[in-house]
């Protein structure tokens, strides 16, 4: 049997239904025989009941609306970043690192742009970006997210990571063996990078749907820091081939890619 002090000590837990059955039973037995404790419990119960009837502060409708739209905005921003994450669950640290890299890249591009006082031609900007991406892919030993010479491994890997399906064909018999695939990002969206090799030279073939605003004469060539870039449009798809190969070899590569893809 419990005494009053012990009972009072557990009275609140008893009220809150937080006691195990054995202790609950003992408290109940004591309350039945002790008028003082029974009154104390009655007070506590009345107070608890009164507290539970105090209504919540009502949530302001404007706040609810604000949060709803803020979360929608966050959700769509997140949906845009998911394709570049390596796994189904995007690691934010990874995304932050990527963002930092992009900012750095953009600053670099900006610095180059201003130092040379060149007009911001979108084609030149894109060429610069793909060349920068090519250099980066060689620098950080991150040439391929999926390293395989089998086109039937590389092509399915892109599924679900992009909203388009880049053509992936192994050109080993033409002297351009497939190395792998990688996801990358240009200022205007995600892009597939299909990686090929010619002897010891690496070729990044960047692929994404043509935006429709791309005008002018194709193929376009660009050259920076010893790298050559060749860009063309075929069947609604924009291609950039970047390498340290000579322009003539790059031209040859382009012809091979073009022939493999139905126009």
């Amino acid at each position: 049997m419990r005494n009053c002090d012990e009972t009072r000590q557990w009275l609140d837990a008893y009220l809150d239904n937080e006691l195990d059955p054995v202790n609950t039973l003992e408290i109940e037995q004591h309350l039945q025989t002790c008028p003082a404790c029974s009154q104390a419990y009655e007070e506590l119960r009345a107070l608890g009941a009164a507290l539970s009837t105090v209504p919540r502060y009502p949530t302001p409708a404007a706040l609810r609306e604000r949060i709803h739209s803020a979360l929608l905005g966050e959700a769509s921003a997140e949906a845009q970043t998911i394709p570049f994450a390596p796994a189904a669950r995007p690691s934010w640290r990874w995304v932050t690192a990527l963002a930092a890299m992009l900012v750095l890249g953009a600053m670099l591009a900006g610095a180059l742009l201003f130092s040379r006082h060149q007009p911001a031609d979108p084609n030149q900007m894109l060429a610069r970006e793909v060349i920068a991406s090519h250099i980066r892919s060689l620098m950080v030993s991150h040439l391929a997210d999926v390293a395989s010479t089998d086109q039937h491994t590389v092509k399915p890997w892109f599924d679900g990571k992009l909203n388009f399906a880049p053509p992936v064909v192994d050109f080993a018999r033409n002297g351009f063996p497939l190395v792998g695939g990688r996801l990358d990002y240009l200022t205007d969206g995600p892009i597939a990078a299909v990686v090929y090799r010619r002897d010891k030279h690496v070729i990044n073939l960047f692929v994404r749907p043509a935006t429709g605003t791309e005008q002018g004469k194709f193929p376009k060539t660009a050259s920076r820091q010893g790298y050559n870039c060749l860009s063309w449009i075929q069947a609604g798809t924009r291609y950039w081939a970047v390498s340290d190969l000579t322009p003539a070899e790059l031209q040859q590569f382009m012809e091979i890619v073009r022939r493999s893809t139905p126009s």
Binding site: D12, L44, L47, A50, T59, R64, E74, R89
Partner: protein, 167 residues
């Protein structure tokens, strides 16, 4: 994930900050933090998780505003156990508690950790374990906080009744 618990979130923030605009700021910030951190959340209790973030955000704000805000420290002399318990009967208690504003004011006069325990227990119906999770303390501490909070409320209300009868 967040929207179903918005009412509980705003209510807790409102009780802790004691101010509508502050509470709105807290809930908005906490919701975004909860959403962004959603990836790091693998538990099953989304409500407790969101309320934890709301609570921490509210305390951060209170800390920041401490110098600006006029705080009312809990006065043991005024609200302490100055022999009031004996006089409190269920009847007189209820008379004080019947008045919702009176009870609200009494809860508002309590220290933060007592107030949050009461609000989570009585308005959200959370278990000791959930409250412990949110407040970051052992469940035993939750039990003693609730017991002490109720004891203080009882004394506070009994005192109010006595003063009313005296005047």
């Amino acid at each position: 994930m967040i929207l179903p618990h918005l009412d509980a979130a705003y209510n807790l923030a409102r009780w802790l900050t004691g101010h509508d605009q502050d509470a709105q700021d807290v809930v908005q910030e906490a919701s975004l933090r909860a959403f962004r951190a959603f990836d790091g959340f693998y538990g099953e209790n989304g409500r407790a998780w969101l309320l934890t973030i709301v609570r921490n955000t509210a305390y951060n704000l209170l800390q920041k505003n401490k110098s600006l805000r006029q705080t009312t420290p809990f006065d043991e002399e005024l609200h302490g156990n100055a022999g009031a318990s004996e006089c409190a009967t269920p009847l007189s208690l209820l008379r004080g508690a019947e008045d919702e504003q009176n009870l609200r004011a009494a809860v508002e006069a309590l220290p933060d950790e007592f107030r949050e325990a009461l609000v989570l227990r009585h308005q959200d119906g959370l278990s000791y374990r959930e409250i412990a999770l949110i407040a970051g303390v052992p469940t035993g501490t939750v039990m003693s906080r609730l017991a002490r909070a109720r004891a203080r409320l009882k004394d506070f209300l009994a005192k109010g009744n006595r003063e009313e009868e005296a005047s």
